[in-house]
Subunit: 190 residues, 2 copies
């Protein structure tokens, strides 16, 4: 028996995107964003949805660039902190976070040293729909700490240990066991 829950935003799982940007004075900021995902293969692009109240939005409007850091499970508290406070209200947000920002080599945005995987993005499109601004960023590079790479040079998900969100319970979770292979397991049904 199926039950109607109303118009709920129940995509499972939601990502935890650490969006890094510079303000108009070159100060780095990082914001925890749950609205977003990959939207295009060529060029490779990520979409993020930002509320107009976010400092990150005015930063990106100015700089036309941002980074997306992927936090690990050990960084859950600081990742949540970066969603609990805004630089508009607490200018010491970044100092309190203890994170260290260095300039991206490719775009006008900060790379956070502590995040083991970071996408460097330049704004390709920005458009309001409803309550949020959808920003499409072209991914110009992905930066990874060497200690999360596997022998093939790809990212080892167990070493990255990324987190995700349950949109009903508002909880963070780790990624669990591997259960299959894409474009492979379903071939038995052809």
């Amino acid at each position: 028996m199926k039950k109607s829950l109303g118009a709920r935003r129940f995509i499972y799982p939601l990502p935890v995107l650490m969006v890094g940007s510079y303000d108009e004075n070159g100060n780095p900021d990082v914001c925890n964003v749950g609205w977003g995902g990959i939207c295009c293969s060529e060029p490779p692009c990520v979409m993020i949805g930002l509320h107009p109240s976010r400092k990150t939005l005015s930063n990106i409007q100015h700089s036309q660039a941002f980074t997306v850091g992927i936090p690990g499970a050990s960084q859950e508290v600081v990742a949540d902190f970066l969603g609990c406070v805004t630089a508009k209200v607490d200018p010491d947000k970044m100092a309190k976070s203890g994170l260290h920002a260095v300039p991206s080599e490719h775009v006008n945005a900060p790379v956070i040293e502590e995040f083991k995987l970071t996408l460097e993005c330049r704004v390709a499109k920005m458009e309001q729909f409803g309550s949020h601004i959808q920003i499409i960023g072209e991914i110009v590079d992905a930066l990874a700490d060497e200690d999360i790479l596997n022998e093939a040079g790809g990212v080892d998900i167990e070493k990255l240990d990324p987190i995700l969100v349950d949109p009903s319970a508002d909880t963070y979770h780790r990624v669990g066991e591997r259960i299959g292979k894409i474009f492979h397991d379903g071939l038995v049904m052809k």
Copy 2:
């Protein structure tokens, strides 16, 4: 030491979205879509990115509606199958899948009985960017099987047992242990 991996689409984790639609003759189809996420709070909207080659795209252009089913770990093989084949090439795709479609009560799209959580969406915007069409769907209802609900009437993530994708290894994974609470754990750093 950070290493450049090039312009990779490394958002962790990616969702596994089962996009349901009717073709011009009212035949149901379901497609496995990895590009997408929530993009807007009010109205509540999901964005999906579809390649022009997908049958699902022409279906949605015609019907102006779609559903998003969230598959469970026990449905990983059929979920992968729905990404391995297209109804353009294999008209028996749905019959082979063994899934059962019923009409949505709210939009012109099929609800797949076997998926325990389904978002019913009407198209609010459709626009090409790069290789893909970004479709914004307004979520008009979320339908859940009663056996995945908790006592508060929300979705129990362990009962839903959703899957996700590792974009580097191209593998499916379950969701792992709960590690924290949103807008809560970070408050200790304020």
